[in-house]
Symmetry: C2
Subunit: 359 residues, 2 copies
DNA sequence: TTGTATGCGTTATCAC
DNA sequence: GTGATAACGCATACAA
């Protein structure tokens, strides 16, 4: 490796403010390559981009110079010139939630397959709209080509303006009714209804909800699913049986405690996402209660180990990975203008995994 | 929001190849702002960066123009001029591994607190050195300011060259002995030794290892820990008791099956990471074997729900989050040249969580 | 088949 | 206290 062995010739630029950096971290430019190959910068550029015919001979000389100087083109300068960065953003709630880490992996695996060699800038809002706004601003300043967003629930005007400007935006997991953009979602209402109906079919009557406090359409719909299933069965429930907590395992643990303090005790709990389920189980555990004997639990979002430990959890499974893949494709199609019409909304399927935690 | 209401005046640039884009997605430039405020671009720049004194009056005019035009400076042009991008890369093994998602969250939370407003580009190698190389190239082309890396095990010359050039690099989770860079690690050898010693103390004698096949120093050391503990106890074991599988739950499931096919059957299994533990449990489950009655299990890496489900897992816990925070700080200090001496190596602590899976 | 020269939007160095 | 203007490194329109 001769990366740091090359000594720039005298033609190399002067010492501006940050010029010294270039001496420490020397990076050959397209001009250095052109000079060494005895051609113009245009030719070097065209060789790298295969954007016009170059005789085999000159091409080889250019390639040799590139190798000798260990030249890598400057993506920043290239981005400035082409007005596209090859970078997309993903603003999600929380990467430690298995649903989102699967989703992000789906995005990554998919964009890696694209010839455009897209990159992903990752941001966690932790369900905070203020943080979302901050990230939106930073990403816009970074001139990302498009954005995959699990909206925290605010910034509607900002997002509307973005979409109005034609900026490529894809919603995942949830959407904002007032913002018309592509989306990849699941039918939360139907899935939650089916899950709670299953609980009812198992004989449970007092079914509490451990609800993540967030302004996400997905969560709202899941709670509506609970109400729908209860109503369909002619079952009543009071608002006190819907306990809210922030969307983290620790907060859900407290929420779970609150549910276990309910009087009379519910005989089943519907957890609106991964974190709620985990927190609920921890609370149950703390009180020495057994699932499903003492309390049945069913949750939205499956997790990879849901069937390897006891109790095996009854869940609605959705593939974060597949949704990530779909979102990435949608976004790419918008960026490349393969897709230009009105917003497209993808609804992915869910599966009801009936295991033992529901009794 | 008047983002898309502004009609650029006649002075607005001509139509180059991508010029049309500017009409669809109109973005005011520093010149538009200067023109509207009746000042020079220099003044606008200085107002935005607070880099020289500007009278309150002109400053207000500039600020008003910025607001009116909804101007956001172009980070790309800025990066080109300043030769720094405010972007760092993180190349890790797999974001769906809870250890790494915690780590990434630690990085994010930390860089968000920096005044530099750093951004994170995320890459998963899935333990593939070829993929790592690809990402290294892309990230270098993107001119990232620094890199946090969990090396897949190859690309040594490339990384050496990077470090020799003074490029800020921090290893996490594992390191490459031939590359001298900052690192954040744990004492894998000691922790694994203690874990296996615990298994031995519990009366287990035939202790198998479910080992992730990867060229990571961390895994090698964990396996050495097993050997050390066995030797210290005067226990023998044959190589057949060390079963390898790729580092994914599915592969570990197969590996777990292989272990359960061993004859004679081991009475305990040491799993070298999260995924191995999960796959092993799934295999156990498939065969209808109980843990710890039929087989004791202990794993490296704790997970948030390790104590909420049965069996509660005995594990070595390390904080991916804290390691992410530390790595981000180390990297920032290198980037800003707050830290300039020889490589610093941080060794974070681990905790032995003795729960029920070890019998 | 190749070269010259302009400009992308900033920042920073001068000059006034 | 402010303004002109030259880079930054590349892609590309236009020449040759």
């Amino acid at each position: 490796m001769a990366v740091n062995a090359y000594v720039p010739d005298a033609s190399f630029g002067g010492t501006t403010a940050l010029g010294w950096l270039k001496w420490v971290i020397f990076m050959a430019t397209i001009r250095d390559v052109a000079a060494r190959a005895g051609v113009s910068v245009a030719t070097v550029s065209h060789v790298m981009n295969e954007s016009r015919f170059v005789t085999e001979d000159t091409k080889q000389r250019v390639l040799a110079a590139i190798a000798a100087l260990n030249y890598r083109r400057d993506g920043i300068a290239r981005s400035l010139r082409r007005s596209q960065t090859g970078t997309i953003g993903a603003i999600i709630a929380d990467i430690t939630n298995p649903f989102f880490s699967d989703l992000v992996k789906g995005i990554e695996d998919t964009i890696r397959g694209f010839p455009e060699k897209l990159n992903l800038i990752l941001c966690n809002t932790e369900e905070d709209a203020a943080r979302e706004l901050l990230y939106l601003d930073v990403l816009m300043e970074k001139r990302i080509d498009g954005l995959i967003l699990a909206p925290a629930g605010g910034n509607v005007a900002y997002l509307e303006a973005l979409v109005a400007r034609g900026f490529p935006l894809v919603f995942v997991d949830r959407s904002l009714s007032s913002v018309t953009a592509d989306s990849v979602l699941v039918d939360n209402l139907a899935a939650a209804t089916a899950l709670v109906a299953h609980l009812i079919a198992r004989g449970h009557r007092r079914i509490a909800v451990l609800k993540a406090t967030l302004h996400a359409s997905s969560i709202t719909e899941r709670v509506q699913g609970h109400a729908a299933a209860m109503a369909a069965a002619g079952l009543d429930f009071d608002a006190g049986m819907i306990v809210e907590s922030a969307s983290s395992i620790d907060a859900a643990f407290e929420g779970g405690r609150a549910i276990l303090a309910l009087d009379p005790l519910p005989d089943a709990v519907f957890c609106t996402n991964n974190f709620m389920t985990l927190g609920m189980m921890r609370a149950l555990n703390e009180q020495g209660l057994r699932c499903p004997q003492d309390m049945a639990i069913a949750g939205f979002d499956d997790f990879q180990w849901a069937d390897a430990f006891r109790p095996r959890m009854t869940t609605v499974a959705q593939s974060g990975y597949d949704q990530g893949c779909a979102a990435a494709r949608l976004l790419r199609d918008r960026i490349t203008k393969v897709q230009t019409g009105p917003a497209v909304h993808l609804v992915h399927g869910t599966a009801l995994n009936i295991r033992e935690s529901s009794g």
